[in-house]
């Protein structure tokens, strides 16, 4: 028994636009994360090698406008990048796609943003 020919119709323009922008956002957020993760790891290594306590680290973070800004950008990049990566996994491994999947992924993005900003707020207040 031969399967019927697979016919792929032209995707709606909105779906094409959405797919292209997902790709752009994932690549852009990956570029930001590449830099952020290196800085983050270097910061951890610095803190460990100088035997800084948690209180000392928080005090230094409070004293600078750079670190809250840096981690705000980090959190936004994670909240964009992670759900898009999970979307590909859900599609390819579980066959899940469509609005319900995207709604769950949007919720994950919101949770990452919420949790991340909550942590960043402790650096500023």
């Amino acid at each position: 028994m031969i399967d019927a020919p697979l016919v792929i119709e032209d995707a709606p323009l909105r779906a094409v636009w959405y797919a292209a922008w997902r790709f752009v956002l994932q690549r852009a957020s990956a570029a930001v994360l590449a830099l952020c993760v290196v800085v983050h790891l270097a910061t951890i290594i610095y803190a460990v090698r100088h035997e800084l306590t948690a209180a000392a680290i928080v005090a230094r973070m409070h004293a600078s406008a750079f670190w809250p800004a840096f981690y705000t950008i980090f959190v936004i990049a994670v909240a964009i990048h992670a759900p898009l990566g999970l979307r590909a996994i859900a599609d390819e491994w579980l066959g899940l796609r469509g609005r319900a999947t995207d709604a769950v992924l949007a919720l994950i993005a919101v949770l990452l943003l919420g949790g991340g900003f909550y942590a960043v707020r402790s650096l500023t207040t």
């Binding site: 697979l6 032209d10 995707a11 790709f23 752009v24």
Partner: protein
């Protein structure tokens, strides 16, 4: 009398099984020679497909010891050594019978990727002049050599995971036409390869590039399409 060696060949459709044949071992023997020997001397009911026998037509691709290959230019020495040879139909395509797969889904995706040339000139215009040294022409020097054998498609992990993914060959074809200065499909072709089943789904595993018998790099074509789609999206031209 040459010595024989065991060859396992897929028989039947998707629910078939490998059957063993003992085939004479000859010098400079190709995998296609082996299959042809079985069909002509051992079991006339074996179904397989070939045409040119010299690596031009792209019709004899099969799975040889687990990897998709063009069988007419694959020497038994190179793939089997002294061990058994296992020959099956290509992956990711419906099996018609034995070693023959239905290539319709593969070429349907060429159509979905708008793989047909859209002329901008008519028969009354003069021949187009394309400088061989121009960047656009040099970008497709290699890609135009695709023979449509399906080896890349059968080797692609993403095709296996995501059945509507257009696949390396169709995207390589689309890229070739995007870079063809005589072609007029423009943004409509970019849209065709930019959707959920398009170029962005490629994971750059490069199995297509590793296995392509013509030593092309569909991965590079797909990467170029990704860049073109991203630029079009950023410029608002998609």
């Amino acid at each position: 009398m040459p010595s024989t060696f065991p060859v396992l060949i897929w028989r039947g459709a998707a629910d078939g099984a490998f059957r063993r044949y003992d085939v004479p071992r000859l010098a400079s023997q190709t995998v296609l020679d082996v299959v042809t020997h079985v069909q002509r001397h051992l079991d006339a009911s074996l179904a397989y497909r070939y045409a040119c026998r010299v690596g031009m037509c792209g019709s004899c691709a099969m799975t040889v010891n687990g990897k998709a290959r063009w069988t007419c230019r694959t020497h038994v020495d190179a793939v089997a050594g002294d061990s058994a040879l296992e020959i099956g139909p290509l992956h990711h395509l419906p099996i018609v019978r034995d070693l023959v797969v239905d290539m319709a889904p593969f070429f349907d995706k060429w159509a979905a990727a708008k793989g047909e040339f859209k002329p901008t000139a008519s028969r009354y215009d003069d021949f187009a002049t394309v400088a061989p040294s121009s960047p656009a022409r040099r970008a497709i020097d290699a890609t135009i050599e695709c023979i449509g054998c399906g080896v890349c498609y059968a080797s692609c992990d993403v095709v296996g995971w995501k059945p509507d993914y257009l696949g390396p060959a169709a995207l390589n074809r689309a890229f070739t036409l995007v870079k063809d200065v005589r072609d007029g499909a423009g943004v409509s072709r970019l849209r065709a390869v930019a959707g959920d089943s398009g170029c962005q789904s490629c994971h750059t595993h490069q199995s297509c590039t590793e296995r392509c018998p013509k030593h092309l790099s569909p991965t590079a074509s797909i990467a170029s399409l990704k860049r073109l789609v991203a630029l079009a999206a950023l410029k608002g031209n998609l």
